[in-house]
């Protein structure tokens, strides 16, 4: 290496450190230190007023006997397992319908995307409260055909379903990603399949699906991680309680209650680490299983 290029490298190194001042500060103060601090707090009893007190595994043992913890795990898992596949199924179906040479694509795409844009807002959660409430839109509609509906939100067996519907309603953003993926599939492949005598169904099974699996996988990971962290809708629908009977006690809502309502910050930290471990395990599993169903052209 000439001395001249070494000079440039040094100069680049020095410049890089200046460019990276914000990132390095952020990594240290906003990410790394809090990450370690919450790991430490997970093994303590801490109420913010008194110094943390080391309690070993007590917080984790407490979870095992904590009915609310198990309720929140159950609610969150049901939500992830039901709403994510349903949402992606709608997204894929609509993307397939819109893909092949239908006019008005831009209009439909915008109309279906709009709910995704608004779906995570407090305003839409408020709307949902009124739609599924005692005198809400749904029950008014049911009354027209002579069915008297109970409040969907006050009933523990239907409250979670309203939030699943809300998540399915926001299928527009994965749909847009599917549409972009479908565009990437070369027309020649369909023509070749037709020449070989494949009908619509066979073309779908042997051309569309295999080539779309990386996009399906991408959407699945993204939506699963997002669904695990649902907070706003559950907080608004239940007024922050997770009720009725813990039926909308999402995991992050429980962390919020423990950490910022009860100020039991040690326990809340332990809960947060369990969430992170769960997301890491689920994501790792997705990647492991993906070897068997996701098709990357080169293999």
């Amino acid at each position: 290496m000439t001395s001249r290029s070494r000079f440039y490298l040094n100069r680049q190194g020095r410049a890089a450190h200046v460019f990276l001042i914000p990132w390095q500060l952020g990594f240290l103060l906003i990410t790394a230190v809090p990450l370690l601090a919450s790991l430490y707090l997970a093994f303590t009893n801490y109420d913010i007023l008194n110094p943390p007190e080391w309690t070993g595994l007590e917080n984790f043992q407490r979870m095992i006997h904590d009915d609310q913890f198990w309720a929140s795990v159950r609610v969150t898992l049901i939500y992830v397992l039901v709403s994510v596949p349903l949402q992606l199924a709608f997204a894929l179906l609509l993307a397939l319908i819109l893909d092949r040479g239908l006019s008005g694509l831009a209009f439909y795409r915008s109309a279906f995307y709009l709910p995704s844009l608004l779906g995570s807002s407090v305003a839409i959660a408020i709307l949902w409260r009124e739609i599924f409430g005692d005198d809400g839109l749904i029950n008014k509609g049911l009354a027209l055909i002579g069915i008297h509906g109970e409040s969907w939100l006050q009933n523990p067996s239907t409250a979670l379903a309203t939030l699943i519907v809300l998540n399915v309603w926001t299928f527009g953003s994965p749909m847009v990603i599917f549409l972009a993926g479908l565009r990437q599939i070369p027309d020649e492949l369909y023509e070749a399949a037709r020449v070989d005598g494949a009908g619509i169904v066979k073309q779908f099974r042997h051309v569309t699906v295999p080539l779309l699996t990386p996009i399906i996988f991408f959407n699945l990971i993204l939506q699963t991680i997002g669904a695990f962290q649902t907070f706003t809708q559950a907080h608004i629908i239940s007024g922050g309680t997770g009720g009725p009977a813990n039926s909308t006690l999402f995991y992050t809502l429980y962390i919020y209650q423990q950490g910022f309502v009860a100020f039991d910050m040690g326990y809340a930290s332990a809960l947060a680490w369990v969430l992170m471990a769960a997301i890491a395990v689920v994501t790792a599993l997705h990647f492991l299983v993906s070897k068997y169903w996701v098709f990357y052209g080169d293999s």
């Binding site: 490298l9 460019f19 914000p22 952020g26 844009l117 027209l144 972009a180 910022f260």
Partner: protein, 292 residues
């Protein structure tokens, strides 16, 4: 070409008619589905203009009476007018956009273009932190900011943005810079521009599409953000719009539904305007990055 299409039409009139029929059926089905999807939103808009006692008694979307009373009442439903909350939200949103554009572009340029020792490690950390759930960080962050006396200020919301902690945008910009031809950088270097001038005059102007995407999504996410402001902002005076709406829900009564709808609707207006203006970039942004 002409004879070819003509030949097609003559030889197979039935499939054309069939195809048209199928398209018409498809459009009908899709339009019904769109109407079904959008109905709740239309209902909210119309309800906001109905007298409160009619909202829950009439499910239809054609109002018999129109009124602005819900907006007047809702605007003053809390002990500060909603103008305060809108200004607060706007300040936080604009400052967040500025923070992300500043810090993420600096970071991305260094990671994508400059040679230095920890480069690969830093990039790996950035990627890993995209996956990190916010909830494992929020409790120590809260303790940290509250010990600095920053609860009920916007610093806890804004400082992270100026420190490039939205790793997704860093990643997005790195990927974008990598598509720019390196010859442009080299030419600037040969002309004697150092890394800073090269960044400012060559790379940053070419990054516009990535900066637009970052702006759009920072706007939407910050405007809708509820969890972080809920934790840090406890005084009415400091509320952003979502926190103010939440506190209206807490004190909701039957007559309050109209006010809630009116204020909810207003809270969505900035996003709808943004959607109308930036739709092209938005759709392209989601298609290429997978953001919501």
């Amino acid at each position: 070409m002409v004879s070819l299409t003509a030949g097609k039409v003559i030889s197979s009139p039935a499939p054309v008619r069939q195809r048209r029929l199928r398209a018409a059926l498809k459009h009908t089905g899709l339009l019904v589905f769109v109407a079904f999807m959008i109905y709740p939103l239309v209902w909210m808009v119309v309800s906001a203009f109905k007298p409160p006692e009619q909202i829950l008694t009439e499910p239809g979307i054609i109002p018999s009476d129109l009124t602005f009373q819900n907006f007047k009442d809702g605007w003053h439903a809390l002990n500060r007018p909603f103008s305060v909350f809108f200004v607060n939200s706007l300040v936080v949103t604009i400052a967040s956009i500025a923070g992300n554009l500043f810090s993420c572009s600096l970071t991305a340029y260094a990671l994508a273009r400059l040679q230095f020792r920890m480069r690969k490690a830093y990039f790996a950390i950035t990627l890993a932190s995209v996956m990190l759930p916010f909830h494992v960080l929020v409790i120590p962050q809260y303790i940290f900011f509250s010990q600095l006396g920053l609860v009920n200020t916007y610093w806890p919301l804004l400082i992270p943005k100026f420190l490039a902690t939205d790793a997704f945008f860093v990643f997005l910009m790195v990927q974008f810079i990598r598509t720019l031809p390196r010859e442009l950088d080299r030419a600037a270097w040969i002309d004697g521009a150092g890394p800073f001038l090269t960044f400012w005059y060559v790379v940053l102007p070419l990054m516009r599409p990535a900066l637009v995407t970052t702006t759009i999504f920072t706007f939407i996410w910050t405007w809708n953000d509820f969890f972080v402001p809920l934790i840090y902002l406890t005084r009415t005076q400091a509320f952003t719009v979502p926190v103010a709406l939440n506190s209206m829900v807490d004190s909701e009564t039957q007559s309050g539904v109209g006010m809630l709808f009116a204020m909810s609707l207003l809270s969505l207006v900035p996003i709808l305007i943004f959607f109308a203006v930036a739709q092209k970039y938005l759709i392209r942004g989601i298609a290429t990055t997978g953001l919501k």
